[in-house]
């Protein structure tokens, strides 16, 4: 915008700043709560300035973890987070690979019932995990995949959204590029690896961010599959701590874990954002 409108600018900034404050305040509170000891945080009103226990709480959460009711010992946030990380990365990478391949098949190959398969994939968009969770659980349980990473990841890997997104992207790739590759002698998979995948880099980055956060935030599925503490994810653990009845709730520890749980998605978004911008600046096609 080249025109200068001071009042509009002021109002715009005001709205932005207020919204940011509203969004950021709970996170600030979590950080504050993580920096006091239990006595400090239990005061009324709750303190709004940082205390001195931040690193102690963090170390405590990371290495020992709060006690989960019904489980004798605490589970360290380090283990929980590495579980979450394995799950989120596997889901994101798996989804991208499967979606790229299925979108490739749907856009570039003429096979019987092509449209039928496309619509079948598309319709599953409308079915959230919760709807099909009992049959899915049954299948996973029968396969003996309870309390395994495979069980955590596999059922969540198929993705209609990503397939759809890649299909839309592939359809914008000019036909001449396919023809040029055919004349150059590239077979279908060669074309896929040498041309389509590099061209989809920015879409892949976007999908990775979205699916990583989706995987990281999974709650219901790990709740069913991961009974053993060593397969629990951090989101699951926080949920359990919060709902502990009559328990001795270690709020500073819980908040420290919440802050820790926030970090990997933030890191992914911040790192990938550079890719987005790059992708937007250099319009390739």
């Amino acid at each position: 915008m080249i025109e200068r409108r001071p009042i509009a600018d002021f109002v715009g900034h005001l709205i932005l700043i207020v919204t940011v404050l509203i969004v950021a305040f709970p996170i600030y509170l979590a950080v504050i709560a993580a920096s006091h000891d239990l006595a400090g945080i239990s005061q009324v009103p709750m303190p709004l300035l940082p205390g001195s226990e931040f690193f102690t709480n963090m170390a405590n959460a990371l290495l020992e973890g709060p006690k989960i009711v019904g489980v004798g010992r605490g589970t360290s946030a380090l283990l929980l987070m590495s579980n979450s990380l394995i799950m989120a990365i596997s889901i994101a990478v798996g989804k991208i690979i499967i979606s790229l391949l299925s979108a490739f098949a749907i856009v570039y190959f003429r096979f019987p019932l092509r449209t039928f398969f496309f619509w079948m994939i598309f319709i599953t968009l409308m079915l959230p995990v919760e709807v099909r969770i009992i049959p899915t659980f049954k299948v996973v349980a029968d396969l003996g995949l309870l309390d395994t990473y495979t069980g955590l990841v596999l059922p969540l890997i198929a993705s209609a959204t990503a397939t759809f997104l890649f299909r839309q992207f592939f359809m914008t790739v000019p036909d001449e590029l396919v023809e040029a590759a055919r004349i150059d002698g590239a077979g279908p998979m060669r074309f896929f690896w040498d041309v389509l995948v590099p061209l989809s880099r920015t879409s892949i980055a976007a999908m990775f961010v979205i699916q990583f956060i989706y995987g990281w935030n999974q709650y219901l599925w790990p709740l069913l599959i991961a009974a053993a503490p060593e397969y629990q994810t951090i989101v699951l653990a926080i949920g359990r701590l919060m709902r502990a009845p009559d328990a001795y709730e270690e709020w500073p520890l819980i908040m420290a874990m919440a802050v820790l749980a926030l970090l990997p998605p933030v890191v992914v978004v911040v790192l990938m954002q550079r890719w987005f911008v790059k992708g937007l600046v250099e319009t390739e096609k």
Partner: protein, 359 residues
Amino acid sequence: MAKVTLKGVKKSYGQVKAIHGVDMEIQDGEFIVIVGPSGCGKSTLLRMIAGLEAITEGTISIGDRVVNDIEPRDRDIAMVFQNYALYPHMSVYENMSYGLRIRGMSKSDIEKRVQRAAEILQLQPYLQRKPRELSGGQRQRVAMGRAIVREPSVFLFDEPLSNLDAKLRVQMRLEIKRLHQQLGVTSIYVTHDQVEAMTLADRLVVMNLGRADQIGAPHEVYARPATTYVGGFIGSPAMNFLSCRVENGSGGPRAVLSDGTALALPTAWSVPPGEYTLGIRPEHLRTARPGETPHLMLEVDVAEELGADTLLHGKIAGEELVARVPSYAGYHDHSKPGLITDITLAHLFDKESGLRIAV
């Protein structure tokens, strides 16, 4: 290098027939231009030769091999596309060498070929750049470079210059012509631009509605168009067409226009009397000198001055007519010049079929 033979080549999409049967023999090293308006089937024909479209009927051979069922990569062809179709994420060097890398050629051979092509096309300074950092003309050269490095026996060009601006188009046209002289590879070039067609072609194929109306050398197509369509398409401004009735009078055959104007036809022409279409090129009309009896009186409504020449647009016997006269003749809008035509250069076509009448 190879010759290309088309025998009864047809293409239909379901019920719709796109190509109605083309027969053509392209000699080794020949530069063939397929020209025609949008939708005439010229690109389809080229894509069938390339192997990007299936052939419904007939055969296409490259060299001595029928290629109907052979994949594009094995046809020993290279194609230059209208929108260049460069791989956007690869550098110029990678773009040019991609086909060779797939064939598993050694690095040093690839290097040699790419360097040689880059030299011919003056692309050496740009080898490490991405296509988006190049201008339209440079991209077009990369697309040609990609074709050259493959050292194919046939080059296929699909309207390669239509995305360039007018000046660059003229320049690239010349470069393509030089390239062909230098490499001597059989080339098939599709365009809708008749200037490109006339200047580049050894032989011209004029396509109309899925048929090859005429195949011949440019001067031949210009001098003896086989149909009214070809006559109207080749030559700028387009040939004038006047409906006429041919009568055999005492002084030899005459063409009588609808307003009664009579043009004496050469006495050597033996044409049965009847209805015909008379074709006269604008450049074969001139204004009458003082003392001459004009053949035609033109009512000019618009005069377009091009510099050296002026195009006089007007009507004769209710039909549009254009005359190309030297600008110094001094005619302007709404003047009424008398025109003289060299009737031996006129063309007579059948009124119904539009086919040329041999006279």
